[in-house]
Amino acid sequence: MKFRAERGEFADAASWSLRTVGARATLPALSGVHLEVAEDRLTLASTDLEVSSELSIPVQAERDGKALVPGRLLGDVVRSLPPAAVHAEIIDDRLHLECGRAKFDLRTMPTEDYPPLPEPDPEAGAAVMKAPTFSSLVAQVARAASGDDARPVLTGVHLEASPAGLIAAATDSYRLAVRSLSWEEEIEGTVLLPRRALDEARRVADSLGGEVRLVLEDHQVTLFVGDRRLTTRLIEGRFPDFRQLVPTGWDRRLNVERVALAEVVRRVAVVGEANTASTPVTLELTEDAVRVTAGSGEVGEADETLPGVLEGEPLQISFNPRYLSDGLDAVASDEVHLEFRDELKPAVVRPAPVEGEEDLDGDFLYLLMPVRV
């Protein structure tokens, strides 16, 4: 294998490959990035057996071939190279890199130890979305997934794809985020995939723009963004029947400025440890105002009131401040509707529709459980 590549492109590609290199690999080969040169393209691949990634960049190839290079080392080396063309060549079991006056000789690992990477079936159902649409969907929904590995099903994002559209949902049992969008695509399937894979794809979609292609199969999901591909294994198990959790109708509805409420919640929550349900923020809703309070006698208290319009009877209800801010942050609209039954039943956060304006949030809803005080 022998090629010449641009340093910037090579460095970007190597650092992206590193994101799916096995961290606690029981198989040493997984700590490597697999390089392959063919037809004037360098393909970089890596996997941690859950998520695998592949991308290719144009190079001037003198000799095709493959190599398995320790990932972290390759990333560090390529990042530190001066801005000049990179000449790379495999000599015996070493990768020889030259850039300007810098020379590196990196020991490679046997390529035959590298597991074959999963590839999507070209016949499988696929759908295409604009990158910003995909990004906003992931950003809105993935935050509600649980970080607790004790219940793996809740750490994933549930996707339901049909020819008419996509529904994405995630829940950690305290809150639930659901977003749907419509499309006309040849695709059908329901999957539960690790949040991490979606977050990685979103990161790429944000930086590259363009389109995201989603391929669903029974045992894996693949996301293409530009010339990059991420394939992820699915999480096994049954995702909760989230539709039956969403209340039909409400007894009280608050219309409030989204950013203002989010700021107040964050400010007031400072007096408690913002991360625990033991120090909730309390919302006192009256006809034309929302009073937000938090704190305890020992640490201190905080109190702030902002305008808001309530339909229905006054209500006092408490939430974990982080979960409430997450819900408010997930919406893009200027105003939100908060719908309530009573102080012990789940509340719903929705974007308040604005007539004549483009709907940035699609059909998004965020359900959150109050805290008993």
Partner: protein
């Protein structure tokens, strides 16, 4: 995973030279290529080993394992008594449970569980002193300060630690007087005696019951 029990002699050439005279030993070849030679004793270290990546060559006289650093492990085998291979599958890794941290979190949420009659309320977790943070600082129904040290196992060390905190906290006129509670899943008798002598209360807490209590949070399903 391949396990071989063989009568063998082992020679290692590398950073140093070492020789194991002929005897019966267990040879392990792991899926990642690591090779280890074990005697019938000790749980921790093999007698000789070679990490992956390496190459294992089997020949008539035994095995030769080489790595890229030029180290060579030569295993001369006279007799093979057992040779089995088994695929162990993917290893889920070692998990340690953070019981102590979780206990602290649970008791912070439910300090009343420490002493139901005293009406404890949490002032803060990890209350700082100049010799380190106290796990929980609480006040009882009468407003008296209570420092709580949380351990998985209550031993003399824990009592000593709490004693030092109590001494430090007692110097703060806003907190004094301060009494202490040592909370643990199990408390050793020696620790109880020492704690009793120093006026420190000992409370054994039921982790599982507390967890049950924690799940008292309202959830969607």
């Amino acid at each position: 995973m391949r396990l071989v029990i063989a009568h063998c002699a082992v020679t290692y050439e590398g950073r140093l030279s070492a020789h194991l005279p002929p005897a019966r030993r267990l040879l392990m070849v792991k899926a990642d290529g690591c090779v280890a030679v074990h005697a019938d004793g000790g749980a921790y270290k093999p007698l000789n080993w070679m990490n992956a990546p390496n190459t294992l060559e089997e020949h008539d006289a035994g095995w030769t394992v080489r790595n890229a650093k030029g180290e060579v492990l030569d295993i001369a085998i006279d007799e093979v008594l057992l040779d089995v291979s088994e695929d162990l599958g993917e290893d889920p890794g070692l998990s340690k449970d953070g019981v102590e941290a979780h206990l602290q979190e649970l008791l912070a949420a439910h300090p009343e569980a420490l002493a139901p009659a005293e009406g404890l309320r949490l002032v803060r977790r990890e209350y700082p002193t100049d010799i380190g943070p106290v796990d929980l600082l609480c006040r009882d129904a009468d407003g008296e300060t209570v420092a709580v040290e949380i351990k998985r196992r209550g031993e003399i060390d824990g009592v000593e630690q709490l004693t030092r905190y109590l001494e430090r906290l007692g110097r703060d006129p806003l907190l004094a007087p301060v009494r202490g509670i040592l909370a643990a899943q199990r408390i050793k008798p020696q620790a109880r005696v020492l704690a009793g002598e120093r006026g420190i209360a000992c409370v054994e807490v039921d982790y599982d019951a507390l967890r049950g209590r924690a799940s008292d949070d309202l959830t969607l399903f």
